[in-house]
């Protein structure tokens, strides 16, 4: 017996004029999985998610959601699916509650008390009767999650849910997504932030320029990651660099603000201890990128600062 996939997208392609926004992308998400679609801006993540929701028609390939497709099932594909694309859109002249009640009408009605429940989940109960036109960006994002939960979905699709949020908002949004995932939801989440995906997701597809640059588990991705990088700034950068000759596991190169130090954690620690012992004063020693970030930049051909 085969397991029905939550998302089974095979060879999906979409071009806008001469630009291939999504090029032969295959993504398969198992039920209960928290799956990340990662990529820089313009990688094709949002276009892919729009095709999943039927907002855009693919030029080639097939997308099946819980074994239903747009060609044969029409809007029935969205049974059990909810989410939002980019920032969620609402009617500014209606209150948060009115927006949710109206959207529930488009789902054939919500069971009694559900609107209150989802407002509570996203911590908007006390602001539900204010017009959405006065909501902050973060409140709209949370209302977007509430509108999605209103459908009591099996698959939650979130496109850059932490985009535009302040650090506390990002923390809370990630916590919310993790809690929802823990409750048994399948989550498909797009992001351009490696940390976010690493923290939340089990498996990931990294997209770049419309294509797939990596596909697999976060664990396997970590194994591929290069050594972490650090920025070192001292009162004698030339002297500190000269000490690197005694540490073959560490690469030290001049940088704009001091030195970049790349190597395994233990080797870098030994090198820095040596620098301190030699009487050189450390002014700055800070990580510039995590190993996964470095790998992400490599896979997506982006300039790396360190």
């Amino acid at each position: 017996m085969t397991t029905q996939l939550a998302v089974d997208a095979v060879g999906v392609t979409k071009a806008f004029g001469q630009v291939r926004a999504v090029d032969d992308v295959t993504i398969q998400v198992a039920p209960g999985e928290v799956y990340g679609v990662l990529g820089p801006n313009g990688a094709g993540k949002t276009t892919f998610l729009r095709m999943l929701f039927g907002l855009i028609r693919p030029d080639a390939g097939t997308i099946r959601v819980f074994d239903k497709s747009w060609d044969t099932d029409g809007v029935g594909v969205l049974d059990g699916v909810a989410g939002f694309i980019e920032s969620p859109g609402f009617y500014p002249y209606l209150t948060g509650r009115q927006n949710l009640e109206g959207l529930a009408l488009l789902d054939g009605g919500a069971r009694a008390g559900l609107v209150e429940e989802v407002l509570e989940v996203v911590d908007l109960t006390d602001r539900a009767d204010r017009k959405v036109g006065g909501y902050s960006y973060g409140m709209r994002q949370r209302l977007g999650v509430a509108a999605s939960l209103l459908r009591e979905p099996r698959l939650l699709v979130l496109d850059e849910p932490a985009n535009g949020l302040d650090p506390a908002g990002i923390r809370d949004m990630r916590a919310l997504v993790k809690r929802l995932a823990a409750s048994g939801l399948t989550v498909l989440l797009s992001s351009h932030n490696m940390d976010e995906v690493e923290e939340i997701c089990d498996n990931v597809t990294i997209m770049n320029r419309g294509g797939v640059a990596y596909h697999g588990s976060i664990t396997d991705l970590r194994a591929m990651a290069p050594d972490p990088g650090h920025l070192l700034h001292t009162n004698d950068n030339a002297g500190a660099r000269a000490l690197a000759a005694d540490h073959p596991g560490v690469e030290v190169e001049p940088a704009e603000d001091g030195l970049t130090v790349v190597g395994q954690e233990a080797a870098v620690a030994a090198y820095v201890a040596d620098v301190v012992r030699s009487g050189i004063v450390l002014r700055v020693f800070t990580p510039t990128r995590t190993p996964l970030e470095a790998l992400f930049f490599m896979l997506t051909d982006q300039e790396v600062a360190a």
Partner: protein, 290 residues
Amino acid sequence: MTATSTLPTPAPVKAGTPGRPGLGATIRWELRKLRAQHRTKAVLLGALLGPVPIALVIHAQGRPPKDTLFGRYATTNGFALSLLILGFAAQWVLPLLTAVVAGDIFSSEDTHGTWKTVLTRSASRAQLFTAKTVTAVGFAVLTLLVLSASTIASSVLVGGHQALTGLGGQLIAPSTALKLVGASWLTTIPPTIGFACLAILLSVWSRSSAVGIAAPVVIGMVMQLVGAMGGVEALRPFLLTSPYEAWHGLLSAPRFTGPLVEGLITSGVWVAVTLAVSFALLRRRDITGG
């Protein structure tokens, strides 16, 4: 989510399957949005109260506008006054009042970025299209009925309800005149629906409320101009403004209804073509933005 916010632990999500909304539910949603908008109320209020000062001002004129249809009697007869206002309203007021909602009902989804919100629920594009169209057309007819009733009532109150002199010079008894004036206003329903559908097409095509609202008025005025030119008799039956003049036959002696039938057909063709093109555009559209 602010630094002070504390999210409660959500209850385990019960995976369910959303139901399919009926057309009634989708229309209720459109009506709910319409009721919450100030301009909807402003249009209805304008249709209700606007005719009162207009009737008062025309009635107070020392010299009646004799060159206009029923203008000669507009200062002395309420029925003539309401017909004078009808002729004026048909030129641009009815297309404008109609387009305020019809020209915005689709493009406002682009303005607010809500296409992606409503199209990721359980309603199909066909359902949303039908609900929006029914709502826009319903609002256009409601506005027309309010404007008609208000105009006739205020004109009769201001100008009196004496017997009306018809277009053939015949004298029409007040009770008959009231029916004919009411019927004259009602004959503008088909072209008004036609203008509502034209506004819908422009709203869907342009994705701009400014175009959806203003363009039908401009197109209507151009049609009026073309219709008034000589040598375009063959073109006149196809103009959406021609049915606005069909009521003249009701006030003639003998009465004739040919233009009413022609107007009905013309309006019907405009409705069918504009709605077919609008739906095709919406159905095939890639929602890449809102």
